[in-house]
């Protein structure tokens, strides 16, 4: 049986690669779409969290009696309501989490480990009463010394966050606890030998600040726990199956008794892959017997949800005078926040991934500090380490007077390159992005006086994983598509396109839905740039499953063997010796005949998607610097990235543009400012400065398509790579403008002006 030839023939596609209006679009431009906080239930209570005002404190006691005595307060939850859980690591997005820590992050147990750490929660009849109740809870804290900086936290005399934390990954195991949770190492070849081959060796130390994902929708959920032990949870999340698993674990429930529905999600970028409010809302609902709605304020989002790791990175690269990179070495120290599990491992793996190197060594440290636990943020771990390496590459190019794109081309990873972290690359598109960069009008346009231009490349693995999808054929031949990956940036559109392509039907006939956890099998979350790829594969599989059923039915109707039926352009046609014998049966015909001919059609797929193709990108940026105030202005920006195949090019461009602008924020202004007591001074968008509309120019994009061989249409993930290059690209551009190399982010006006002043002093003297 020729299942589906559509989409594979001549590599040309009818739907994949087009730009229809997204199926959820109208709801989103009319205000009809329901996000996490947009639902109200009858008899609903309001839940609020009491948070630690201290960065580090032992909790001796919590007295909730006065809160409970307040009229309108229905229940209170503290550490006593959650069972302690043993150490057990499970995947959360692209990072690992430990249930022992999850239960503590959700509600502090022995100690409060960061300002904003939840200590208790109340459910009350109104927000006002809930607030008043929080004020009546008495917590007896013993304030302890705290540590925020990763290097200080590694010092032997540093205050200990976890008295039982023994560093993993070193032999022999240490006998005393420390804040270093883990040491990891990746090695390829012999770096000493590699550096010996080099004519030039540059080593530098870099630092990056923690940055928040900055999604505009704060965390929100509604829990409705019923007396029979079943519960419904509505929440804004990147993965409702993952939320179900975590919540069931923390509440001691069967997963089948908890039905989680993902609301429309107002941005996540990795930050909505973990649970914060959800288990608390469920517990409050269980104890009060009423639905409980919880939302975080923006301040709570900043204080207590996960930023990307702040880091200290030392890197060293050796090169010959001819521009061949001979060796790379790096040491990465990543803040994990209050609990272990920074993305230092992917940071190590990505550091030198864009290059074809024989000798690489990267060592990483996962370090706990008194800050909120880090969460995934777009390509977690990679931007920090690649910032360091891409800055040094630029400097090396300048040293030998070689064009930085040329130097990258000379050393670029390509098909067959063995990456330092293990695998050998299949077809990848770095060289193609670099060639596009070289040819791009942006790269060839002369700079205005005083401006600087920078380039940098970036890499991210992308992931696949467990994924289900269903296609339900309606009696009129239209299709309901059910996927399990929350749609954050238009993925329903790209899933419909892939289904339409496979089935050979008009995309408008397919209506998508993100099913709740009871409607589909386990589906991993939206993260790792996996949705268009993995849910896409599942949808294609489901479509093929349906085509199989449709062909079988046509064979039955025509009374010919099934292998004499083929599916072409959305209809069953008799093939082989029967060709032309019968009128083709379209999808609509078969749908109409379904009941009479044997029953309904449901295409199903449950897959563990493998072979997510990595995605490389190269960015070009021009900056201007106000020499008197230190302000850096982004004058022009171009993103070039390999998408494998852009299913809906507009949303691919959107990913590239959004990632670049987040990177601009990371490079220039975003940082957390703490006082000497470890309290966050800028938990709001006024002083945590994400780029605003007037800060940035248009972001030009070039989509390169080097097909990923494991996906029927060649799709690779695209969502994460675009945040990797901007920091180095901008630092390289600033260096071009000023002749000063910035190794510490952000390159905020005071830092730039100070560097300019420091640089002038010797000249004047």
């Amino acid at each position: 049986m020729a299942a589906n030839s559509h989409g594979k023939t001549n590599g040309s596609t009818r739907w994949v690669g087009t730009r229809p209006v997204r199926p959820d679009g109208v709801d989103k431009v009319t205000g009809r779409a329901r996000f996490g906080a947009d639902v109200h239930l009858p008899n609903m209570l309001v839940g609020k969290v009491l948070r630690s005002p201290h960065a580090h404190a032992r909790i001796h006691s919590i007295d909730t009696s006065a809160a409970l005595a307040l009229p309108g307060v229905k229940t209170v939850v503290t550490r006593d309501d959650f069972n302690d859980l043993p150490s057990e690591f499970v995947p959360a997005g692209e990072m690992l989490i430990n249930y022992r820590d999850v239960v503590r992050n959700v509600m502090a147990r022995e100690k409060a480990l960061f300002e904003g750490h939840p200590v208790a929660a109340v459910a009350a009849v109104s927000e006002k009463v809930a607030r008043e109740a929080l004020a009546r809870i008495k917590v007896d804290y013993e304030v302890l010394p705290h540590v925020l900086d990763v290097v200080e936290a590694m010092a032997p005399e540093a205050p200990l966050l976890h008295e039982d934390l023994i560093t993993a990954g070193v032999e022999p195991a240490p006998t005393t606890p420390s804040n270093v949770a883990k040491v990891v190492e990746f090695k390829l070849g012999d770096v000493e030998a590699g550096f010996a081959e080099a004519d030039i060796v540059i080593e530098r130390e870099f630092s990056t600040q923690p940055v928040h994902q900055g999604y505009i929708e704060p965390h929100a959920c509604i829990a409705n726990y019923s007396e029979d032990g079943q519960a419904e949870l509505w929440c804004t999340t990147q993965g409702h199956f993952v939320v179900r698993g975590h919540c069931a674990k923390l509440l001691g429930m069967d997963v089948s008794k908890l039905r989680v529905t993902a609301s429309e999600i107002g941005g996540g970028f990795g930050g909505k892959t973990v649970v914060y409010l959800e288990p608390v809302a469920l517990m409050l609902s269980r104890k009060s017997g009423q639905p409980v709605k919880m939302t975080m304020s923006r301040e709570e989002v900043f204080q207590a949800s996960g930023p990307a790791a702040g880091t200290r990175v030392w890197a060293k690269v050796g090169m010959t005078n001819a521009g061949r990179i001979t060796a790379g070495e790096a040491v990465l120290k990543y803040q994990a926040g209050a609990f272990q599990g920074s993305p230092v491992q992917p940071g190590c793996m990505c550091a030198f991934a864009p290059y074809d190197l024989a000798h690489v060594k990267v060592v990483g440290y996962d370090v706990v500090v008194n800050r909120p636990k880090v969460a995934a943020y777009r390509a977690p771990g990679a931007p920090q380490s690649e910032f360091a390496v891409e800055s040094i590459i630029d400097e090396l190019a300048k040293r030998i007077g070689m064009d930085p794109v040329e130097l990258r081309l000379k050393n670029a990873a390509k098909e067959g390159t063995k990456a330092a972290y293990g695998p050998t690359f299949g077809p990848v598109g770095l060289v193609e992005t670099l060639e596009e960069a070289k040819a791009h009008d942006h790269y060839r346009t002369p700079l205005k006086p005083g401006q600087g231009r920078g380039v940098a490349s970036g890499f991210w693995f992308n992931i696949g994983g467990e994924t289900c999808a269903t296609l339900n054929l309606g009696e009129d031949g239209t299709i309901a598509l059910v996927a399990g990956t929350p749609d954050i940036g238009g993925s329903r559109a790209s899933l419909c396109l892939q289904a339409a392509e496979t089935l050979g039907v008009d995309v408008e006939r397919i209506r998508p839905l993100i099913g709740d956890t009871s409607t589909l099998g386990y589906t991993f979350l939206t993260g790792g740039s996996r949705t268009a790829f993995a849910s896409g594969m599942a949808v294609i599989e489901a479509a093929r499953d349906m085509i199989r059923q449709l062909c079988e039915r046509a064979a039955k109707i025509w009374d010919i063997p099934v292998d004499a039926v083929e599916w072409i352009d959305g209809e069953a046609r008799p093939a082989g010796s029967n060709a032309g014998e019968f009128e083709p049966l379209s999808l609509a015909d078969l749908a109409r005949l379904a009941g009479k001919s044997g029953g309904p059609f449901v295409g199903r797929a449950q897959i563990n998607a493998q072979g997510a193709g990595p995605s490389f990108g190269t960015h070009i940026v021009d900056v201007d610097v106000d020499r008197e105030t230190g302000r850096v202005t982004i004058e022009r920006y171009t993103v070039i990235q390999d998408a494998g195949k852009a299913v809906h090019p507009s949303y691919v461009e959107g990913q590239l543009q959004g990632g670049a602008v987040q990177g601009i924020g990371w490079a220039l202004n975003e940082e957390y400012i703490y006082d000497d007591k470890g309290r966050l001074q800028n938990p709001g968008f006024l002083d945590y400065r994400i780029p605003v509309c007037s800060d940035v120019p248009m972001i030009d994009t070039v989509i390169v398509e080097v097909p990923n061989p494991t996906h029927p249409y060649g799709v690779r993930g695209v969502g994460e790579t675009p945040i990797v290059p901007p920091m180095a690209a901008i630092a390289n551009a600033v260096e071009g403008a000023l002749g000063l190399r910035f190794t510490d982010l952000p390159m905020s006006p005071p830092r730039v002006l100070k560097a300019l002043g420091d640089a002038r002093v010797p000249k004047a003297a």
Binding site: V26, V29, T30, K128, Y651, G658, G684
Partner: protein, 158 residues
């Protein structure tokens, strides 16, 4: 303190509601009138997700008290389409894919509408500064700005 009784107009309809003096207009719209199209991204005037038009002026609903709405005409995203006819900005936002997650979208649309009412032929810079109080973390603003400029052009032509 007894609740205040407020008489106002929302999207052209006479509306009465009761609210506490502390409640913001955004709280009232979302929690009392169930008009959840206006979003709360910050509750402090920084993100623009709650943008509404009050007596012809673009404002943050989170920075107005509900009681201040007495006698005013309030316009929200829910009133932007005319029956089943989308506003040209809504159509262009869809065509240009000017939204990813879409949580910022109602605020941008309301703000852009108020811009085009005042300035039917804005420059890119004018669009960017007018919308600087509307944060979007997903799109990098490119497609939003293009959609607004394109709408302006279309509306001038038509």
């Amino acid at each position: 303190m007894a609740k205040a009784h407020v008489t106002t107009t929302v999207n052209g309809d006479a509306v009465e509601f009761l609210c506490d003096a502390e409640q913001t207009l955004l709280d009232v719209l979302r929690d009392e009138l169930y008009l959840t199209g206006s979003k709360e991204g910050c509750a402090s005037g920084d993100c623009g997700a709650c943008s509404v038009i009050a007596d012809g002026r673009l404002v943050c609903a989170c920075l107005m008290l509900g009681v201040e709405a007495e006698g005013l005409a309030i316009e929200t995203i829910e009133g932007m389409a005319d029956g089943d006819q989308l506003h040209p900005l809504q159509t262009k936002f869809l065509e240009h894919a000017a939204l990813q997650c879409g949580v910022c979208t109602p605020g941008f649309l309301v703000a852009a509408k108020s811009l085009l009412e005042r300035n039917p032929d804005p420059t890119e810079i004018e669009v960017r500064y007018w919308l600087a109080g509307n944060l979007c973390r997903c799109t990098g603003y490119d497609k939003i700005v293009r959609a607004v400029l394109d709408t302006a052009e279309e509306m001038r032509g038509g």
